[in-house]
Symmetry: D2
Subunit: 491 residues, 4 copies
């Protein structure tokens, strides 16, 4: 029963991959929801469409607020925060899903809540449950009534039907039925719970501020509340934080971790720490590797802002070609432009980016971008650069060709819309009409993220399905719908 | 998990009983939701706080819209109606519940929807399920997840767990577990379903417009869409209307009907037809009976507007004392006055009513009101009348003393707040400091509604629990909470 | 430079005359704007489209708030009232003007404010300045910049250009240039000022509450704040209320008063006092006069609610035919129904009125209405009554035929749209297809309002231009636009 | 009569200078307001609080829309743009003024409109009229009524009182009475008019797209609509663009130009062209100059984002010290955070900036910022950097010490709040507790903007009053209020 929503018109934003979610939770401070609001603000890049917070207070019970739009616009005022009292709270930001699934209803905005016989629990996740459709069918057959189209609701219903006596055990029961990639934060009246799937595809970190415990998708959200980064939650781990400390359980069968390599390339914020290093430094290293792999003589190295910036700096440092801001991003472009006029919609990338004409004129320019998805933005940028009088345009891409969709919580176009799914590097260069186009190699990317030996082809250290087509978890629901995996898919 | 809501500040409205709901449904017209919107507009007096509509269209599935506020403000624009396409739709208006239960969340606004293995169904009801708490506990124990605090949701969950193969049969299964007073409208993709509880406490009528079938709480809502009044749905009857016609089932054990007598006194609109007569005529007859039972010499008969008007006209016609509008109602008072200033809140009844000073001065005035609940409004009106220079004030009340709470879908204060629960008629007269105060007798009321022999004490023809304390259905949840019934309670 | 506004869709409301404004002001209470909000709420019937309040506080200066919509929705919350501090305030409610002038911009909502060399002043008026266009042209020629299309702004500009040293004297200067019908409330930092035009066409009364002084269009707005009715402001009088008391000036040439007789018939609230008697009693007297002038044998006397009610009661009392509510008004119809669907718009009068079918069936019905403007509503009501099975329908109208437009602050259709401008009483009866149709005579109306000798044809005691075509003030701007007055126009 | 507004809570934004306005206008395209909306979007950095557009269409006259908030949120939808039809339009974005003057009322949002005897005109300006108070007093004395507290309204009233027969001549009349720094765009029904003050303090450029003419504060707004940059409007020039072409007038006494040097440092967008060079290149040159003037040994050069970025790149290129993003800006911080909770308000700069901890740790860091105003932000950034474990912190500032307020359209704190007004460079270094702090010299800045000989002390080539205290136009209103100029002030 989908409620109709206003279309989210972001015409020039559909040429990027989007993380679908960020999660955050706190236990042990008097006003947990304020901390969650700040944490979600720092995680806004992981989901701009909507957000939600649930809190629990002994006198006021569970309360929630779910809103479309930015955290800063919805969750910072006393008017909202005062309705979310208590010492434990969790929250979620999400991206608009696209394509066949249509716009999100507010009912689909997490966290979800369920009242069980032994009390309530709320839950939010980042990722995707690959057997959600099958689970849903089974649960409905047995009398569960779904209120949303979200994966997370399956977990709540599985928990409701568990015969275990406490909520963490019910959650273990439920998670053993679930397949896919997911990082979960959940809460009961007295516990903050975090879970990562057995492969640890999506990130989740544990932090501490005073006596309070924090769970967050990234460390940058620990910084904003002044929390100390304790450690990453381990793949397959379930942590339970209470007033007394943190308990750790491992409900799943152990597996080799396969963290999402694209978190390094694009999703995570440059000031977050992944694998003991700032994401910024990793991206600079990717740019250096790219300069070594695919050098070219030119006058300027320019990033496609903002995501190409660290790699462009790295490329400049390695190549010695001066770094310059040849493209300026209009910082007042946001998620909005709701229902613009036809003419304004057609402006596309111009509303967001402008070429620094006087700087670019008569120069040979290297443009560094993080990835090529559909290629539509790359093409428009190239036109703007040439229109401004550049002599040569060389694209350098800080990731290998994106040729396969992600089924683990990232919003990707259908395979046939991915430029790299249908064209070779040369065909893409011709399609974009640039003087040269080079992607970093998959091995080069592994080296840049710290795997000095490159990719272990028999047992890759990361999930790189979007580049390799090798899916570490079989995407069951998608296979049911006819998706064809590469024959060499890992098993 | 109640969402906080703005307080609904209607300071002078808490001294009346309020029907909690009105229901309406149509099948067989191209744009059913427009008809439902009109029907709900005509039933707005049965619930002013919120409304909801669900429709089904073969191409667009089930859609819903739920809003706080008036039907005219939410459900008449193309913008909303266009999101509710299809040939079958049901709707609901509800009153704010008061007291301990707190303000309503939008989640509690009906109709409710459930997706079953054989397709979806939506349901709305007027009334109260007296064993809802017990049912809810049991269902949660077995893994159902509730999304609202509404009674109706129990029915949906019971239906979800039924093993029957079609939705009407699942509804029969569910209804056999349910106790209380309820009139239900429900819908599937192809059926419009209506149910009245075995005693027929709450009203429900069947109408027809062209080839389409209509269910409505009252006939006045048939008039607005030009529908013909076919008949009342019978107590204990389940009707199923489809393209092919109307089918009738009787899933309950038969019982003697006990229709709510207060529908005649106050709830129903004067232009609705109950028992073959307009409610207006019944109220005029109540006024005549009152004039015969408790005559008094005076200059003017004035109604307390608007609900006392028909009885005042009857009193005037019977007594020969001229009818006059001694109190004028400000027609611009609505449900609103959201968050008024302290000073304005204190104005209370003055915002709504003003005495016709020049008319009243030096007159002996008979004031006719429909009922006395807490007595606070009566007291203020008396003061206004005396302040305007009236020589005498005589109250005549078109119902017996309201001494017991209703548990069948009417919002009444706790027993100790009911003036008649703690005072005799004489004490009330002294409390209100009026020259005389008379209520119609219970027998007189029965005569006025058409029972020429008066009330059958051993087996009353109506539910009159609010006057007599004799509850035809044991209020199980309330008894669990410690409510004490009269020892002479009917069983 | 008109700002576009949403269309105000009141399809069934254009068949009535509408007072364009109500005014209210207070000086001498700590929180004057709260009193003004209450006063405007009581005057809401004089203007439902928009309202405005200006207040002055020594520390915070002049503040204003102007809003579309009802007083209760805009001016009762602390959020708004707190922005309007201080011991003196004035306010205004206005009706949407119709026809060629288009919907109102918020810029046109009064009160208007001007900063003069000796301090600021704000002003609001009820009525119409008949030479406003000419004055506006002259002022623009001399360098004044208009911000609105409202008449009132002329007065402010004339005051700005006066060479007098104090604001009341500047106002006198300005008023001597102005022609028309107007009741004004104005304020400076320390004064509350009221003015009625020389003929006293529009009402204005003076009241007192404690040490504070009040000006209001009607006495009903004194009642709501507990103020005592002191006296009417006299035609041609300018009153200045300060902390010290009330001063009276007469800046105009004296003239014979010509109060608007339609205030008695329709505009004023029945609980207001006009000429020492409640308007309700006057209307009851009109009904009695009508019964004497045009009796008819019938079963029921029914009002067209709500405006026909007092006259219907009078008709019933005089004729002995029982009074009954044959037509029920849906009290939830308001000014809104913004942008309803086509189908709902076509429902017209049915959204507002329903016939009491069971009561009306097989009866001979006398319908009493206050006036006939275009006749469209009368026609629909007649159809509804016959459709419900009435045997005969007799219309009795509590005013003479409305055959001429008003140019003194009442919104009337163009002359050719007035049914009585083109048809005789018999033609109207045939047009409406009713069994009989009778209007009260002009002399009868004068008698009912207290002129025992009837109308003085050579020097009428009231302005009755809408019935007689005799305009007491030449409508200069309208004559410039080609309007043709009756040759017998009074001069 | 100021209308109260919500407080704009941008706690960490008050430590920067803010351009108060950007202006844009087009004539000769069918839908001029769309172009103006795009132009204003590109100029949003010049004013984020509010915006307004006026257009003229022969059939629909002048129309306007004024809104608080971003252009993208208010002026891109068809709903708004459709209300602004026609081939000529002008627009304005403005910054919130701070301090004693309080928040802006919507009445103060430009463009302003006046209806004159020969037709209407609208006008918007960037800058400040230094004798506005005196002019306003005189105009009120003579009967003009002001509707706003804006300078621009003086010009409209002076135009209204001119005896000239056409609007451009009236504008010349008006401008001869006006002192200060201002760039104006204005429009009549058939003309687009641009004016720069005699010193040309504020920017204004002329562009062309097809047959249409464009006026804009900066060239970056020409790029977004695909317009060609024709030339700067000259200091003291009045240009009139019509269907037939551009006419040029010089109504003022000629003077030596004194363009605002801070436009190079901070106000203008890096992709705009000033003096034939991109602002980006100028800022890079400032960074290089700064590296030459004040070198220091360190590991990283980091910008304070985003305004310090180009100078930091220049510093890195000149010094050879690697450039790195040591501070990450949260791109989801906007103008909003309306009414945040106390706790969130106290987060201040952390909501906007985060240190790249893993990168900064144990490093010697050079931070490059554009300017130091109050020093509060610098102090917080220093603390964050040290907190992250930096070994040394060296501040390098791309402008000389800001020691004097601007009276020419830039919002600066009162003099005593400017850090450099009360402290020497050494005192500031100690106050900020940094290892070193160096500002570029005034001569160095002149060299970097292209004056190879540095500043001409007897007749400076730019307005640099904020650094030098030498005001090229006497700030008359401020002197009246007691502001003390430097004794050496240029005259």
């Amino acid at each position: 029963m989908p409620s109709p929503q206003l279309p989210l018109a972001t015409p020039f934003d559909d040429d990027a991959l989007h993380e679908e979610c960020g999660v955050f939770g706190v236990i042990g401070v008097p006003d947990a929801s304020t901390f969650v609001a700040l944490g979600l603000h720092a995680l806004q890049h992981r989901g701009q469409e909507a957000g939600g917070i649930v809190s629990y207070h002994p006198d006021h019970g569970f309360n929630n607020a779910r809103r479309f739009g930015y955290v800063r616009d919805n969750f910072t005022s006393a008017k909202v925060i005062d309705t979310l009292p208590g010492p434990v709270a969790i929250g979620h930001v999400r991206y608009a899903t696209s394509g066949s699934r249509g716009p999100t209803a507010i009912r689909d905005v997490q966290p979800f809540f369920g009242e069980f016989a032994m009390g309530g629990a709320a839950l939010a996740h980042n990722g995707n449950i690959t057997n959600a459709n099958a689970l849903r069918r089974e649960l409905i057959e047995r009398g569960s009534i779904f209120q949303s189209s979200s994966d997370s609701e399956c977990i709540i219903h599985l928990m409701a039907r568990s015969l275990q006596r406490d909520i963490p055990s019910r959650m273990e029961d439920a998670l053993r039925r679930v397949e896919g990639a997911f990082s979960i934060v959940a809460m009961t009246r007295t516990k903050l719970i975090g879970v990562r799937d057995p492969l640890g595809v999506r990130p989740l970190v544990l932090g501490r501020v005073g006596d309070a415990w924090v769970l967050s998708s990234e460390t940058c959200a620990l910084d904003i509340i002044g929390a100390e980064f304790v450690r990453e939650v381990e793949p397959g781990e379930l942590v339970i934080a209470t007033a007394k400390g943190v308990e750790s359980r491992f409900p799943f069968r152990r597996a080799k971790p396969r963290f999402c390599i694209f978190e390094h390339v694009y999703f995570s914020r440059p000031d977050s720490i992944l694998g003991g290093r700032s994401v910024y430094e990793t991206r600079e290293a990717i740019g250096r590797e790219l300069a070594r792999e695919s050098p070219v003589d030119a006058d300027l190295v320019c990033p496609v802002p903002d995501s190409g910036t660290p790699a462009a700096i790295g490329f400049s440092l390695e190549s010695g070609i001066p770094y310059a801001m040849g493209i300026i991003r209009n910082q007042y472009v946001g998620r909005t432009f709701i229902e613009p006029t036809e003419q304004i919609r057609n402006m596309g990338v111009r509303l967001k980016l402008n070429v620094n004409r006087a700087l670019i004129k008569d120069k040979r320019v290297i443009l560094v971008d993080d990835s090529v998805v559909r290629g539509t933005t790359s093409r428009k940028i190239k036109e703007m650069i040439l229109d401004a009088g550049a002599k040569e345009v060389h694209f350098r891409i800080a990731s290998p060709p994106t040729a396969w969709p992600c089924f683990y919580g990232v919003d990707t176009p259908q395979r046939e819309k991915l430029l790299a799914a249908t064209m070779s590097e040369e065909e893409m260069r011709d399609h974009l009409s640039v003087d040269s186009l080079k992607f970093i190699s998959l091995d080069g990317l592994y080296r840049a993220v710290g795997e000095t030996q490159g990719r272990n082809a028999t047992c890759p250290q990361y999930c790189d399905a979007c580049f390799s087509g090798e899916y570490p978890v079989a995407p069951k629901d998608m296979l049911d719908q006819g998706f064809e995996m590469k024959t060499t898919a890992a098993e």
